[in-house]
Amino acid sequence: MAVSMNDPVATGVPARRNLAGSVVGIAAIIVVSVIGYYLFPNNLALLTRIIAIALLVLSIDLVTGYCGVATLGHAALFGAGAYAAGIASAHYGISDPLLMTLIGALAGAAAGLLSGLIILRAHGLPQLVLSIAIIHLFHEAANKVSSWTGGSDGLSGIAPNALLGMFEFDLWGRTSYIYGVILLLVVFILLQVLVRSPFGMLARGVREDPIRISAMGASVQSILLRMYVVSGVVAGIGGALNAISTQVVGLDSLSFTLSAEALVMLVLGGTGSLYGALVGTVAFMWFEDVVSAANPFHWLTMVGALLIAVVLFAPRGLYGTAAEVARRFRGRRG
């Protein structure tokens, strides 16, 4: 079989470009994190919160962006991780932060499995309604078992030990922040591997045409359920990070509002790309913080105006549109 020299398959160019893209992405996360650390030393709690929410948004991206499942109940996975990590510390004295994170990840996976089993039975609008029902059920359940969760008062008494026995969780939130950045990097690198794996390709196929996927002999349902569990792990880690850094877990972590806001962040940044999830979270939470300080009365109006502007003028989201423009620019030059 004759293969010409400029055959794109033979040169393996896409694989190499992917690798370069990953390195740039990881470097960008580190640079932004370092800048954040030095620019806002008194605001590290907010930055850590952004990282925790970014993990939730990444988690939604896996099922919504990559697989096409619409959900307004994804905070169930985040909240499960937060409560599990919090309860482990407050009730069982398991206060090693790494162990708490692991417990959060497992609880998130379990919540992902459970809500996946229910949500994936429906499609389209009924699916969306089921996801809303789930977050309300989780919320109510956490409210009822107040002896475990603290109910509407929130779960307190979480006292994480020093990280690796060396780094105390200090009052300024430096340890939390650095731990959060490391968690985000690890998750981001693993997700980069995942979305390029055969399974990641299969998931993109499900989003585009589930009937074609089953005509290949693959089970759409099992692909989606597996992705839900993976996304539960990611959201659960985010929840655990939140519990560790704030040392309190409230019912708001299991709320419809958080689910919806996180979905909005994803749309703002751009679905179907890990960078879109990160950009959307940072942009939304930063904007929210700035405008709520500048105008405490009308800040929600401004957030709404921003969203309308993005949906109208950059329907692929901030990152998605920027990437598209960059691609066109490159195309014109090349």
């Binding site: 794109p8 896409p14 794996s197 399974f199 299969l202 074609r212 290949m216 089970s219």
Partner: protein, 254 residues
């Protein structure tokens, strides 16, 4: 010799309407069978019954001796009964390489892997290249499918089916929507199908049917009215009645 693929006495009613009426057919390895019929003859229903998207009211579908009537579409694909679609069903944001690789990985049970990339998996890339080369798609290997021509998308449909290494291939109007100037490419691709593969083609384009098929079955009003050689089909009185009769009766029915 027992048949590789055997449909026996298949019936399907929608309400009181018998859309598939006691249809039987069988395929042996290497067969090239075309199923034709006027609009509304029940071809699409037949395809859905055979592939497992619809359950029949009665009758059986057997594949390599095994009764697969109770299996869903996925189970039948895994046993070697693969179809292509009348209207192209592809992943428009993905490239031909990714399409074929996905099918190869799926066949080998590697599609669920969460680490690694198919480009680094031994054997996968070679096979993908061979299949794309066979169908003349190698030049388009890394272009998104939404940017390639419809005729080439039809070829990719066939490539996907081949990558699953089927025993029985069901081609649902492989030339549908392809401009006349490009049907030769489809024909050329069909010539290259593995010789021992059993192929059932549903097609409207009679030129393609005559060149491809060694046997023709005509379906009309859910019933098989002809089963024989391509050269005899146009001479058959019942076939002529089925194709032309609907026009002849249209006036009196009004």
């Amino acid at each position: 010799m027992s048949a590789l693929f055997e449909v026996s006495n298949l019936n399907k009613n929608f309400g009181g309407l018998a859309v598939t009426n006691n249809v039987s057919l069988s395929l042996h390895p290497g067969d090239r069978l075309a199923l034709i019929g006027p609009n509304g003859a029940g071809k699409t229903t037949f395809v859905n019954l055979v592939t497992g998207n619809l359950q029949p009211n009665s009758g059986t579908v057997r594949l390599a001796g095994e009764d697969v009537t109770g299996l869903n579409a996925m189970g039948r694909v895994r046993r070697g009964l693969v179809r292509s679609f009348q209207v192209t069903r592809l992943f428009y944001e993905m490239t031909p390489v990714e399409h074929v690789a996905l099918a190869v990985l799926q066949r080998e049970g590697k599609s669920g892997r969460m680490v690694g990339n198919f480009r680094g998996m031994p054997g996968v890339m070679e096979e993908v290249r061979d299949i794309l080369d066979l169908l003349g798609l190698l030049d388009l290997a890394d272009i998104k499918v939404r940017e390639i021509a419809y005729g080439q998308q039809r070829l990719l449909e066939i490539a996907l089916a081949l990558a699953l290494r089927p025993k029985v291939l069901l081609l649902d109007e492989p030339a549908a929507g392809v401009p006349q100037s490009e049907t030769a490419r489809i024909e050329h691709a069909l010539d290259k199908l593995p010789p021992d593969l059993a192929v059932l083609m549903i097609e409207h384009d009679m030129d393609l049917v005559f060149r491809f098929a060694k046997r023709v079955i005509v379906l009309a009003a859910g019933t098989v009215i002809f089963d024989g050689l391509p050269q005899d089909v146009t001479q058959d009185a019942r076939v002529r009645e089925a194709y032309l009769g609907s026009y002849a009766n249209a006036g009196s029915a009004a």
